[in-house]
Symmetry: C2
């Protein structure tokens, strides 16, 4: 991935913000440094960088996607009312209860595990495509 000015500044601003911004929130911030940048560039690069594992894309109850530039292992708590996302630090050896206590004043409604991966049928497709 070529290092462009746009890409660097998008990443810098995303890492600086601790608010898990949406694409358009980040666009507003980046525009102060790059007034001619296009919103499409912001979307495109957030997508590319999250595919590459440089940043993370966060889902949020059907609302706008949010992005996180922090790669240290941690969990999130989602506000079901306003969509805000807050970090939950995952500490070695901490129980789920400990984590919840760390959740910065959120009134927790539910929590659980969630996995991401590649399903068997997509694994098959990828094998076929490789040949």
């Amino acid at each position: 991935m070529r290092i462009t000015n746009q890409r660097e500044i998008i990443l810098e601003e995303l890492r600086r913000l601790r608010t898990h911004p949406t694409a358009d929130e980040l666009y507003e911030v980046v525009k102060r440094r790059l007034p001619r940048i296009s919103i499409a560039t912001v979307y495109r690069n957030l997508e590319r960088m999250s595919e590459a594992g440089i940043i993370h894309k966060l889902e949020n109850g059907g609302r706008q996607k949010r992005f996180d530039g922090d790669n240290r292992p941690h969990s999130h708590v989602f506000c079901i009312r306003c969509g805000r996302i807050s970090d939950v630090r995952t500490v070695e050896g901490a129980s789920a209860r400990d984590l919840i206590l760390d959740s910065k004043g959120f009134q927790i409604i539910e929590g659980g595990l969630q996995f991401e991966g590649v399903c068997p049928s997509c694994q098959d497709n990828e094998k076929l495509e490789a040949n």
Copy 2:
């Protein structure tokens, strides 16, 4: 919530399917029994029922939302390629490793905890509105 024919059949079909369908997939199935139903009714009722906790709304990497009629405690694994979602049974005393082994042939890329709740500022708003 009034029990309408549409609502009952949407819930019945969602519970019968084990595929975590999208709103439009479910619409196609329900339409076989109620040919005159509107897609808006399906969306509306899925939303209402998930607010009421009767069913669950699942997010999926910016794709279409999916829905789950199974209320027993369990986790999910999301296919990052095609968007399919599969259940991961959460058994009392099982470790994360055990759960991953139960994930039906998925090649797991990552997993973690996720919480939902109400953030402090929305809690304040709710207190104000109550008065």
